[in-house]
Amino acid sequence: MSYTGEAFLGLMPELISTAFLIAVLMVGVFAERSAGLVASLAALGALVTFVGTAVLLFIGFEGEFFGGGYVVDGFALYFKLIVSGSAFFAVLAAARWSSGTGDAAEYLMLILSVVLGAMLLVSMRDLFGIFLALELATIPSYAMVAFDRRRRESAEGGMKYLITGVIASSILLYGMVLIYGVAGSAQLPDIARAFSGSLTPVALIGLVLLISGFAFKVSAAPFHFWTPDAYQGAPTSAAAFLSVAPKAAIFGVLLRILLEGMPGAAPVWTVVMAFLSIVTMFVGNLFALRQRNVRRMLAYSSVAHSGYILAAFAALQGDAVPTGVQAVMIYSAAYAVMNMGAFLVIDLAGEEVKGYNGLFRTRPGLAISMGVFMAALVGLPPLSGFFGKAWVLLAGAQSGSGLVYVVVGAVVVNSVLSVPYYFGIIRNMFFEEPSGGETAGEGGFAVEFSVYTLAAATVIFALIVGPLAALAQASGLL
């Protein structure tokens, strides 16, 4: 049992972000021509949410609310930190661009509602609550992608994202309903009782539909085809934010569903995850190799990175479960800093690969930051991406299953495969002559600040990976 006061404390990050969401919308309505005020309010909201979550994590707050349907534990708080932290940088990056659209309040409000949905999502322990929070995170993201009225690609990307997204949501929902019918309850602990022993055909169909729906949402192949169009059409801040924050939350809730809701069915879903992971990695990297547009290349790269994270899901068996959970958590944080930074560079240096020629001569700081992000995405040792991959490989090695060894092999092969397109950009920046012609630089100071901060975080990730691993260890899941 819990008291109302405790529930308020547990819901504090969500309440804070809701309050700021409403405030942003109200200021936007009553004070037109106030883009600066709205942006600072939204950034403050993301920051206060981050601090609130950090305080809860620091005091070791844990609790279950609303009949066990909502749980606040270290695991959920960790993902809330990733979501609200990346929202802060997304708001900074969006501040100047959105004031140019004339609808700054609406755009920033959409970012905050994705934050709210993603934060609720990782705390839900009830299938329909999960669906509700997932839709709260994804419906605003369709609008974010289609928000840029000056570029025709934006509405097109939004429409493609929307159509595939709603079909995926229906499939996911059908899977949830079948699981609910089989288990007789939508709460994960009750489902765990029904999913022990051998599965009935209906339960198996439900599980497969559920995983397919989530695969759409994290852009795993063969359900990835919306990703490049959506990210290419979206405003840069939207692509940077959506490729990181909702995705991390969805990986978190998928981990919770699979480990708390159906540990008995692990032999089935680890095999599904293994195949999804292998296909996703190869599709992402092979398509990324042919891209001449940096946004599209990073979109395919995000598909590939989903594959690496899914490899950790395949390893969730036997003794490797704690390491696998740690791998997903650390990879999500590492990926958040490096991928967000790489996307935001587009706002400063343009989206054509040629535009990066000789960037080191013209803007050395920016070129070094982009070089750091690219090297981190490959997984070079002192940078953040290395630790994500290292934990995935460690989990795979501990699992002791032949299929997982194959997946781990595919991770290594794909890391090598991804070198040409990441290093192609580094080569263009450092060894090519500037191609002349001023590159698109509509970013401004806030974007530069975000890029340099994220580059610094990518470099010093080695220092915080120890505490992160300890946090993941004590996260409360398992």
Partner: protein
Amino acid sequence: MPPIVQQVIDALTATPPLAGYLVVGAIMFAIGTWGALIRRNAVVVFMCVELMINAVNLTLVAFGDFLPGEGGLGASYAVLVIAIAAAEIAVGLAIVLAVFRSRRTVNIDEVNTMRG
């Protein structure tokens, strides 16, 4: 009354088993998915998605009614799902309208400036 008529009346008034609802729901869902994947008009695709969601709702309400000790939870979940579907379609039609304004078409095949 001849016994055959009585049998027909009994069959019509008896509560159908759970399996009946599930089969109808599965068929509706399959038709909706098929339509959503092959139709090229974005608005028709949304109609097919509505069919999918309604199939899910039928299944959900049937489960909610037949499960022991559920006390109408299934039906209340269905109300949530209806609200979410409405929100999805509202955003969806707005985006389709934005596409139509810039291109004068809502055919998915003709909206393809991005490739690769």
